[in-house]
Amino acid sequence: MTNPIIRIKNISKSFGAVRVLDGLSIDVMPKERLALIGPSGSGKTTILRILMTLERINDGHIEIDGEQLYHMQRAGQLVPADEKHLAKARQKIGMVFQHFNLFPHKSVIDNITLAPIVTKGVAKPKAEKRAMELLDMVGLADKARSMPSALSGGQKQRVAIARALALQPEIMLFDEVTSALDPELVEEVLSVLWQLSTETDMTMLLVTHEMGFAHDFAHRVLFFDRGKIVEEGKPDDIFRQPKHERTQAFLKKILAAGHRI
Amino acid sequence: MEWNWTFAFAILPHLLEGAKTTILATFLGFLIAIVLGLAMALGRRSQQPWIARAVGLCADFIRGTPLLVQLYVLFFVLPNMGVVLSPLVAGVIGLGLHNATYIAEVYRAGIESISRGQWEASKACNLGISQTWRHIIIPQAIPPMIPALANYLIAMFKETPLLSAITVYEIMGEALGAASRTYRYLEPVTMVGVFFLIISLVCAYFARVIEERVRIHQ
């Protein structure tokens, strides 16, 4: 029996008086692909941001690969993690954002090689060779020297995926990576994700409103509402026979809005 | 050198006398700056291209040269041409003229921030040019300018010590006078510094309050 690679134990998160996550627990097994779905404001992004250490938790514990994320051992006691500990924990995790967050002053290839070169000390030629392989994979080898401003949204997002992969994370977080895109560009990004799911065995957490894709992509689907998991299960079960009425209502609304499953 | 309180108290009345002149010069200079600045801003918008060009060039030249040298010109050169100004008048004109070129930019930005739609709507309401300015443009353009104008007032205040170079007995002039009589610089110069620091901090506080107000009103 293997251990979970991500272990979220009873975490809570508030913004001011608003409790966004409320005693949430999730275990994610290595190589597992998880889809997080739910209405707007239910806390999906917040979970990913917490795993990426972009937000702090108010309560609870998170373990990545058996190591505490927000806490560390000091003199036999658990104390809040310092920046050094966080940096070490972050090595295993990569994230792709809804709005790409590319560095506008760097070319495509420099966006990808920056982190390997400065955080891991990879030699430049080696980093560039690896970057070219990744660009090839996402179908943008010819754009290596372009500036991000010269790319379409779909291309930007594919560069952002390549950039995150360049650090070879064990866990990838995708936060609505297609919702800032024009509809005709969604497919090119989803096909990259699909390729990742078939060719690698990374652990992936996907927040999406693309229910059809979530169905095919994920091993397990979590339906969120108001900071809590309302229902979870295999894609077929959640999408075809949702048990909880809030899941049913949510899916009905999504379907009515023209999304397909 | 030890701080000498007796000496400090002895020169305090002189410094306070000088402070009055400092404040007077600041406000007179500011008055000149806001009036001349408006004239420059309007001159730059003139329909006659050569007027606009000439005003622009003059403003650039004044802005590109030191206030101190301009003060020298007003004080040393003008008398040769038959224009004799008292130190204070020369100082106030120099201070006002120099800062008018900056304040003209504040006006320009303020006027340009009013969208073309406002002009067009005024036309559609059948307002004349002067009515448009009076009722539509100026009331909208002025509030956002106030913080910037306040900043220039504070900046001018801190520039007034320069006037001591043309023998205006503002606070710095008084301090340097006392210092050269006694060869003690510590107390007079430090006291002037404290004077400026206190007034600046108070002004900065009020400037922030005004800025908040303006923001809320928008």
């Binding site: - | 040298v69 020298y72 110069v189 620091l197 600046s200 901090l201 900065a204």
Partner: protein, 220 residues
């Protein structure tokens, strides 16, 4: 006439040297204080705020006289040039610090978060991502500061530093002419200001070309 001109040219050298030295000091201090202002450490922040408020609050003129006339009594003997560089550098550093802070703050949160996701250290975030973008925003205000600093160097003549303004006064005293020396140095000051401004404009254009400035505002 020739003699007057050579006096003034010597003054130009001094003015240029003073400008370059003070600008260098001001730039260094601007970055230190501007980034310190953004530090998480509240002691650092408070120190920097005190520095900025102090140097912006007490007039540059007073600072210059203090550096030249009062510091010697505290055992720090400075030449006119040293006193002027110190006063101008620290004074403009305080204004520059606000420029640095403002430009760094103008870089969107998405850029910082991108850095965290790539596991860059706080220093690497600044060095590779934030400052290169912030520099483009800083250039115009720094250009204005540089021109203002150049103009402010004239007050160093009042502590007997033989700069342009001092030499013009000297010529006035020696020859009795008033218009000519002042007109000449005004033209020189104007030429140097214009040179600085166009230098900044060129740099700005260079930095902007190729960089991704044209990104449309995100609609979220």
């Amino acid at each position: 006439m020739i003699e007057s001109l050579s006096l003034i040219l010597k003054g130009l050298q001094t003015t240029l040297a003073l400008t370059v030295f003070s600008l260098t000091l001001a730039l260094g201090v601007s970055f230190l204080a501007g980034l310190g202002r953004l530090s998480k450490n509240s002691v650092v922040r408070a120190t920097v705020i005190a520095y900025i408020e102090f140097f912006r609050g007490t007039s540059l003129f007073v600072q210059l006289f203090w550096a030249f006339y009062v510091l010697p009594f505290m055992g720090v003997e400075l030449s006119p040039m040293q006193a002027a560089v110190l006063a101008l550098g620290l004074n403009y550093g305080a204004y520059g610090a606000e420029v640095v802070r403002g430009s760094v703050n103008a870089i969107g949160r998405d850029q910082w978060e991108g850095c965290v996701a790539l596991n860059l250290t706080p220093f690497q975030r600044l060095r590779h991502v934030i400052i290169p973008q912030a520099i483009v925003i800083m250039l115009p205000p720094f250009g204005n500061l540089a021109v203002t600093l150049l103009k402010s160097t004239a007050i160093a003549s009042l502590i007997a530093l033989p700069d342009l303004t001092y030499q013009a006064q000297l010529v006035r005293n020696q020859t009795g002419q008033t218009l000519l020396p002042f007109a000449i140095i005004m033209i020189i000051y104007f030429a140097v200001s214009t040179f600085i401004k166009s230098g900044i404009q060129i740099a700005e254009r260079r930095l902007t070309i190729g960089a991704d400035r044209a990104q449309p505002a995100r609609s979220i």
